[in-house]
């Protein structure tokens, strides 16, 4: 399992469309993916779960990937967040 802390930098945070982008990646991957923020941890393959984190700009989330393609998945997710979900 790999765990990494990532900072959300797009101005609107993890609202519906970025959440959908993120879930598109996680559901394609075989590994389990969980994301936590503050006290809450959610399954990152669920858009409802991801939105429930209410992750706003500048908040930090912790991504956990566990499974055969965990490295690939983590890299893709980090890339997505770093590139502001390719929206801005």
């Amino acid at each position: 399992m790999i765990v990494e802390k990532v900072k959300i930098i797009n101005s609107l945070g993890l609202h519906a469309r970025p959440a959908a982008q993120l879930v598109k990646i996680t559901t394609r991957c075989d590994c389990d993916v969980f994301i936590s923020k503050d006290e809450m941890e959610v399954n990152a393959k669920s858009i409802m779960g991801v939105m429930m984190l209410a992750a706003e700009v500048n908040s930090e989330i912790i991504i956990k990937c566990n499974g055969p393609d965990e490295n690939l998945c983590m890299n893709e997710l980090k890339e997505l967040v770093k590139n502001k979900f390719y929206e801005e």
Partner: protein, 588 residues
């Protein structure tokens, strides 16, 4: 139950004007209380199949609704259903539901409602308004799934259950209800929750039926109402009216109907004064749903398209393409009429952003351009979308909430940069797009001649101008006696602004509530304004007054108003003039 109660008045927020008198129709969405039924092991598979079939059916329904919404209400309405499709495709939600059915031996509808409620509760707890509002979307989607699984929770088709035309009473109106509502079926809408920008409010305005929202307690009375009155002007709901109340409202309703017929007649006549001055009467809108009203009332175009509602009502913050489709739709449907789009004017409390800390005084804090400058990506996509939609040359831009020249220069530079960017991508846009500003902060009025050299037009927002000039929060009831648009200082501000615009040969219009006050219209014409922007249904009322005015007499009136020193003197000058020259006050 069913006990007849005496006349009772409830108060809510007026959402759409008009008087409705009729019987109530119960359109309350019951709290989803699907009872738990235990099923045996061998029934589990059948329940899961039923659930999956309902998912498929619901998905098809939503896709269908989305198509119809795009046709009827426009791109903006369709957007809500996009988000619902994301929710229904949530694999984790599906897995959780299937697991719940098989591990607890319960029927599918119970599992869906149970899981929905858990999510709802979790979402409602969230501090951020954008995220907590998503509870409604989950509820809407889950209701549809459950409806598609059971015969009891039938889909209510209003056209078959209403007893003639009735007043629809609901706790809340969901996006999926929209297509069920039709002007020919309902007299009015009353909801227990919601404010003036709720889905119910926008819907009723676009249908042009009287509506009052946020009437707390209304659903409790449902069984005790034999007749009710909805006053969409004041927000009053009168349950079981006394004969005298009934008669007076009946009379008002009758007058209103005559008025509407007359308004329609007026709306076809040209908007000119007795001395042949052409006055443009534009509309203030906040949604594509209002385009039809603009056309119906023969407005000269849109003087103020408030973009705030687009962002507040949409589940996703709108992307550049989403915005482009909305602006393009307004531009196309209203062509060749003009459409003036005001850049997003919201306060930090509305944006989903930790950076905008809670402000003690948000009206004087980070809002309008101040906020947009802090969010360059948002501003960039906003400007790109507007410019991309400007190809028909009927769109112009208003810069909101500016206090000094540098904010204007900065915005103009950003617009120029965006144009270059679009040009390099080979996209078409109006290179000469007109750029104006909202005149709503007194400092801008004091330097209006200098500002007029930098912009193509002024749009005066009297509501904010009054509030900032008199230091009286317009939402604070305790200072409502101070907040007064007829204060001579406000009139002087208008005079200075109009003179500066004329001197520098730029356009000037007024889009505040003042343009909709009948008695103020002669004054505005007298001050030299030739463009007024009002709510669409007020267009004929304004036109009717204008057709009875002589602009030279109005000028004399304005000069008198500029010489007095109290609002009371201004009011009495205006009332006297109105009585002599127009006669009865068309808005009572």
């Amino acid at each position: 139950m069913n006990k007849k109660i005496k006349e009772k008045i409830l108060k809510g927020v007026p959402a759409s004007p008009g008087i409705a008198i009729g019987t109530p129709f119960n359109y309350v969405h019951e709290t989803l209380n699907v009872s738990r039924e235990t099923i045996s092991d061998h029934e589990i598979e059948a329940e899961i199949i039923k659930y999956k079939a309902a998912l498929e059916k619901t998905k098809t329904d939503i896709v269908e609704d989305k198509k119809n919404a795009a046709k009827r209400g426009g791109q903006e309405a369709a957007k809500i259903f996009d988000a619902h499709l994301l929710i229904i495709d949530d694999q984790v939600l599906i897995d959780e539901t299937v697991y719940f059915i098989s591990s607890h031996n319960v029927q599918a509808s119970y599992a869906v409602s149970k899981i929905m409620k858990d999510y709802q509760m979790a979402f409602e707890k969230l501090q951020n308004q954008y995220f907590s509002q998503r509870a409604f979307d989950i509820e809407d989607v889950c209701r549809r799934i459950i409806k598609n699984m059971s015969s009891e929770l039938d889909h209510v088709d209003l056209s078959t259950v209403l007893k003639g035309k009735q007043i629809v009473i609901s706790n809340n109106i969901f996006p999926s209800d929209t297509l069920n509502f039709n002007k020919d079926l309902i007299l009015g809408i009353v909801t227990e929750s919601g404010g003036s920008t709720s889905h119910a409010a926008i819907l009723s305005k676009s249908l042009e039926v009287p509506a009052v929202v946020g009437v707390s307690g209304i659903t409790k009375y449902l069984n005790n109402i034999s007749l009710m009155i909805v006053d969409g002007y004041t927000g009053k709901i009168i349950i079981n009216p006394k004969p005298s109340t009934f008669e007076s409202y009946k009379k008002r309703q009758h007058e209103e109907q005559k008025q509407v017929e007359e308004d329609l007649k007026y709306s076809k006549m040209p908007s000119v004064t007795l001395d042949n001055q052409k006055i443009k009467i534009l509309s203030n809108i906040q949604s594509t749903l209002e385009i039809d009203s603009v056309i119906k009332w023969n407005s000269d175009g849109v003087g103020l398209f408030r973009t705030e509602f687009l962002f507040e009502s949409s589940l996703s913050v709108l992307s550049e393409d989403d915005q482009f489709r909305i602006y393009d739709e307004v531009s196309e449907k209203l062509y060749p009429r003009e459409v003036t789009i005001r850049l997003l004017d919201i306060g930090g409390d509305k944006l989903n952003d930790k950076m905008s800390l809670k402000e003690d005084n948000p009206f004087m804090g980070v809002r309008g351009m101040r906020l947009l400058f802090d969010h360059p990506q948002l501003l960039r996509s906003h400007l790109r979308a507007i410019l991309r939609a400007s190809g028909r040359n009927n769109i112009s831009i208003i810069i909101p909430f500016v206090a000094n020249l540098s904010e204007i220069t900065k915005t103009k530079q950003l617009i120029e940069r965006t144009k270059k960017e679009l040009a390099s991508e080979g996209r078409s846009f109006n290179n000469k797009i007109k750029i104006g500003i909202m005149v709503e902060i007194p400092s801008i009025v004091m330097i209006s001649e200098a500002v007029a050299e930098k912009v193509d037009f002024f749009s005066i927002g009297t509501n904010d101008l009054t509030q900032y000039l008199l230091a009286a929060d317009r939402g604070n009831e305790r200072v409502s006696n101070i907040y007064d648009s007829f204060h001579p200082a406000v009139i002087k501000m208008l005079d200075i602004t109009v003179r500066a615009a004329k001197k520098k040969h730029i356009g000037v219009g007024l889009c505040g509530q003042m343009a909709g006050y009948p008695i103020a219209i002669p004054l505005l014409i007298g001050l030299g304004l030739r463009e007024l922007s009002v709510t669409p249904f007020l267009v004929p009322v304004v036109k009717k007054i204008i057709r009875r005015l002589d602009s030279r007499k109005c000028r004399i009136l304005a000069d008198k108003c500029l010489k007095v020193s109290t609002s009371r003197s201004v009011s009495s000058l205006l009332s006297d003039f109105f009585e002599k020259n127009i006669g009865e006050n068309p808005l009572q």
